[in-house]
């Protein structure tokens, strides 16, 4: 059992190529090139939750700070 135990997220993956074709630059755009409004609409935050408030309260604060209508978290921090 000498192998390093890891999270499933850390499994190394290789890319397999099935077919190739160019992408049309007229449609879509790379994530970092999105206009700022769109960038926020499709935004996630790696947030450091402070002690005290609940996960739910923290999300409410994020909504207020960034003036967004909708926000959600990826699993409460130890409910």
């Amino acid at each position: 059992m000498g192998d390093k135990r890891i999270l499933p997220a850390d499994v190394k993956r290789e890319v397999l190529i099935k077919a190739e074709e160019p992408t049309n630059p007229e449609y879509g755009c790379p994530p970092n090139a999105r206009p700022i409004e769109k960038y926020i609409q499709l935004g996630v935050i790696n947030l450091d939750k402070p002690p005290g408030p609940t996960s739910h309260e923290v999300v409410a604060w994020v909504k207020r700070i960034l003036k967004v209508k909708k926000a959600g978290h990826g699993g409460t921090l130890e409910p």
């Binding site: 135990r5 499933p8 935050i45 790696n46 002690p51 926000a71 959600g72 130890e78 409910p79």
Partner: protein
């Protein structure tokens, strides 16, 4: 805010008035990924992803280091766990996998440890159960989440203050750079999922909820299993949708036809790519 008079509160006095209704814990800090607007649709990938914590477990009586290490070793792998009283889910015994427990430091009765585990594992309960097996009892003294799926304690980790400052800079000075640093593209939330890159011509059909068929696939990653969650991407690196794989990586690579992945959550707006399918 008025005092809520629920049954559970009457029967269980609380020392901390903020821990109402069993939600949250004031001593708990760390990584809480937050998604905005349309990005909330990609949260499924995070909620079910593995987590890592650093915690302080306080033993109720001293035990030998040897015994402690041995018992912690036993708690690695699949474990049975009943959610604690103070939890938001049904309290039935369930199986959760503990990927690793690393003891970092022992100081008297306090044990500092790093735990990697499946989503939904209660560290508070884990500490309690380790204490039971040790025979001395133990409880969780402090907890910090250090990972949630792809999110780690790195340069992307920000505080509420950082968010506020970046937003104000944008509004007051028109400088969007700080905001682009504290907010990440939704694609960051699927960095840990196996990816399938599709043709431009397949994108809009997926945006309309169609399942992904084999001819639409250009590239894919190894490790895809049946029913595992996959990220369906464009060649420009945009997240189109989350899918549930219906074939393994090897099968997808070899398939000429058939459904490769069922579309479960669409993130990209319809019309981003041209409609190239007939209904």
């Amino acid at each position: 805010m008025g005092k809520k008079n629920t049954k559970s509160q009457k029967s269980r006095p609380r020392r901390n008035p903020r821990a109402l209704n069993g939600r949250g814990n004031p001593k708990v800090t760390g990584i809480l990924p937050v998604a905005l607007e349309n990005a909330t649709k990609a949260l499924r990938g995070i909620v079910h992803a593995g987590k890592e914590y650093i915690c302080v477990m306080r033993l109720h009586a001293p035990v030998s280091e040897e015994k402690l290490r041995k018992v912690c070793e036993e708690f690695q792998g699949p474990i049975y766990q009943r959610p604690p009283l103070k939890s938001s889910v049904k309290r039935v015994v369930r199986i959760r996998t503990v990927y690793y427990i690393d003891i970092l430091e022992i100081s008297g009765k306090d044990v500092l440890m790093r735990v990697g585990c499946q989503a939904g594992t209660y560290i508070r309960k884990l500490c309690h159960d380790i204490g039971e097996v040790l025979g001395v009892g133990a409880h969780m003294q402090e907890l910090r989440r250090t990972r949630s799926g792809p999110f780690k304690e790195d340069e992307t980790l920000v505080t509420l203050h950082d968010l506020k400052d970046a937003y104000d800079t944008w509004i007051e000075e028109g400088d969007e750079k700080p905001l682009r640093k504290v907010i990440l593209p939704v694609e960051a939330a699927v960095a840990h999922l196996p990816k399938i890159v599709i043709r431009d011509s397949a994108v809009d059909a997926i945006c309309h909820g169609a399942d992904l068929a084999a001819p639409g696939v250009l590239r894919l990653e190894t490790g895809i299993k049946r029913n595992s969650l996959v990220a369906i991407m464009t060649q420009k690196g945009e997240l189109v949708a989350l899918g549930e794989a219906k074939m393994t990586s090897k099968q997808i690579l070899e398939a000429d036809k058939g459904i490769v992945a069922k579309t479960v959550r669409v993130i990209m707006d319809r019309g981003t790519y041209p409609k190239m399918w007939s209904s």
